[in-house]
Amino acid sequence: MDYINAFWSGGVICALVQILLDRTKLMPGRVMVLLVCSGAVLGALHIYQPFQDFAGAGASVPLTGFGNLLWKGVKEAVDKEGFIGIFMGGFTASAVGISAALVFSYFASLMFDPKMKK
C-alpha cells in the first residue's frame, strides 16, 4: 500500500509542476527554488508533515520534501539551542542531500566527459 501511495502522490506533484514548466515562462531553476521554499512554508504551517506521513517517499523525495526537511531541521535546532539554532538547523537537515550531490558530482566530473545531447 505504501508503494501505491508513494507512486501517486509523487506523480501528482510532478504532474502539477509540469503545468508550470509548459504553460509559464518559469525556467527549471526557478521551479526548483519555488518547490523547496513552498515545501518549507507548508512544513511550518503543519501541512506537509501529515501529508508525508501518508505518502511516505512520495512526499519526501520531491524537492518540496527537501523544503519540509529544512523546516524540521531549523525547528529542532531552535528547540534545542535557542536563537543560534536558527543558523544551524537548515544546513544540518539538508546535509546528506547536499553533501551527496556535491561529492558524487565531483567524482563524476573526474570520471565523465561532456557529451552531446541526443
Binding site: 514548466l21 509548459d22 515562462k25 527549471p28 561532456p114 557529451k115 552531446m116 545531447k117
Partner: protein, 334 residues
C-alpha cells in the same frame, strides 16, 4: 553604387569563387547530409573542448574553400569571420594559423550575411583580389554559452531551435565563377519587444521582413524576381510569422521562400523542434545546397537573408528584449 535607402548595387560585381562546408554528425544525418564537403562523426573534431572543436571547423572550412580555388592564404587580402561565442573566440582561435588579416564580426546568426557583405564590398571597391568570409556555430559551445550544460535534464519547448554544428567559408574575389554577388542590403536592428530567448524565430521574423522589403524597394523588384528568398534560421514558427508580417505589408513570398533552419534538419525524425539555428546554419546551407543550384543555373537569382537574434545571457537575465537583425545578399548566376 548606393541604391535606395540601405542597399548597394555593385558596378563590378565580385564573384563567389568557391565555398566549403564542414558539419557535425547530426547535420550529416540530415536531409543535406551528402551535400556537405566534410562531415565529422565525432563532434569534438579531435579536440579537447567544444570551443576548440568550433575553431577547428572554421579552420577546415577556410582551408577547403581556398583549396577548391587553388588559392593560398597569403593571396587572401582580408578575412571576415564571426561566431556565437563570447568575444568571438572561436574565430580568433580558429583562423589565427592562417595568418590572414582579420576583421572579427558579431551579428549573431546573421553573421554570414555581414561577412559576405563586407567581403564583397571590399572586393568591389578594389581593395584586394580575394577576401574570405567564414562563420561557425557548435551545438555544445552554444548550449553551454546560452542555455544549460549538456547533461542537464531540461525539456526543450517546441519553439526552441537546434544550434547547427557547422562552419561555412566563402572565397569572394575577382576571379570568374558562375555565381556573383550583385548587391547587398544591410539590415537595421528591429525590436518588437519580445523577451523569449527560446522563441528566436519570432524575435527575428520582424527583422527579416524589414530587410526583405527594404531590398525589394531599394532594387525596385518584386518577390517574383527572385527564384528563392532564403532566410537564415527563422524555423517553422518564424516562417509563419514572416508570412503574416509580409502579407500585412502587401507582399506574398509564400511560393518562393525557403528557410535554412527548416532545410538542414528533418523536423520529425531528428526531433529538432522549430528547426536549426546558429551562425553555421545559414552558412553551411548556402554553401552545400544553394550555391550549387546557382552554379548550375537552376536558380538565376536568390536573395540570401541570414537572420540574427541579438542577445547575451547578461542582457537576457537583466530582462532586456531580444532584437533581431537580418542582412540581404543578392546572388546571381552568371
Amino acid at each position: 553604387m548606393t541604391k535606395g535607402l540601405q542597399s548597394i548595387a555593385f558596378e563590378k560585381s565580385p564573384y563567389l569563387v568557391s565555398s566549403a562546408s564542414v558539419v557535425g554528425k547530426k547535420e550529416g544525418e540530415g536531409p543535406l547530409g551528402k551535400m556537405f564537403d566534410m562531415v565529422e562523426k565525432e563532434d569534438l573534431f579531435g579536440e579537447n573542448t567544444w570551443e576548440e572543436a568550433e575553431s577547428t571547423m572554421q579552420k577546415e572550412a577556410c582551408l577547403l574553400a581556398m583549396g577548391k580555388a587553388h588559392v593560398e592564404p597569403k593571396d587572401v587580402r582580408y578575412l571576415f569571420g564571426g561566431d556565437l561565442l563570447r568575444q568571438g573566440v572561436a574565430t580568433s582561435m580558429g583562423v589565427s594559423e592562417l595568418n590572414i588579416p582579420l576583421f572579427g564580426l558579431f551579428g549573431a546568426c546573421s553573421t554570414s550575411g555581414e561577412a559576405l557583405a563586407l567581403a564583397s564590398m571590399s572586393v568591389a571597391a578594389g581593395y584586394g583580389e580575394y577576401m574570405l568570409a567564414v562563420t561557425s556555430s557548435h551545438f555544445g559551445s552554444a548550449e553551454k554559452e546560452f542555455r544549460f550544460p549538456l547533461g542537464y535534464a531540461n525539456q526543450r519547448p517546441l519553439s526552441a531551435q537546434w544550434t547547427v554544428t557547422g562552419s561555412g567559408a566563402f572565397l569572394v574575389g575577382t576571379k570568374r565563377s558562375h555565381v556573383r554577388i550583385t548587391g547587398v542590403t544591410v539590415g537595421k536592428i528591429v525590436d518588437y519587444g519580445l523577451k523569449d530567448s527560446q522563441n528566436m524565430g519570432a524575435c527575428m521574423a520582424p527583422a527579416a521582413c524589414d530587410t526583405i522589403i527594404r531590398n525589394l524597394e531599394d532594387f525596385e523588384r518584386t518577390a517574383q524576381d527572385y527564384n528563392r528568398i532564403v532566410t537564415g534560421d527563422l524555423g517553422y514558427v518564424g516562417q509563419s510569422i514572416l508570412f503574416d508580417l509580409m502579407r500585412g505589408k502587401g507582399y506574398d513570398i509564400k511560393k518562393n521562400h525557403m528557410d535554412c533552419g527548416m532545410t538542414i534538419f528533418d523536423q520529425i525524425s531528428q526531433d529538432t523542434h522549430a528547426g536549426g539555428s546558429g551562425c553555421g546554419c545559414a552558412a553551411t546551407t548556402l554553401s552545400a545546397y544553394i550555391l550549387p543550384k546557382l552554379d548550375r543555373g537552376e536558380w538565376k537569382r536568390v536573395l540570401f537573408v541570414p537572420t540574427g537574434a541579438l542577445m547575451s545571457t547578461v542582457s537576457y537575465n537583466e530582462g532586456a528584449s531580444v532584437p533581431g537583425i537580418a542582412h540581404g545578399i543578392v546572388l546571381e548566376h552568371c
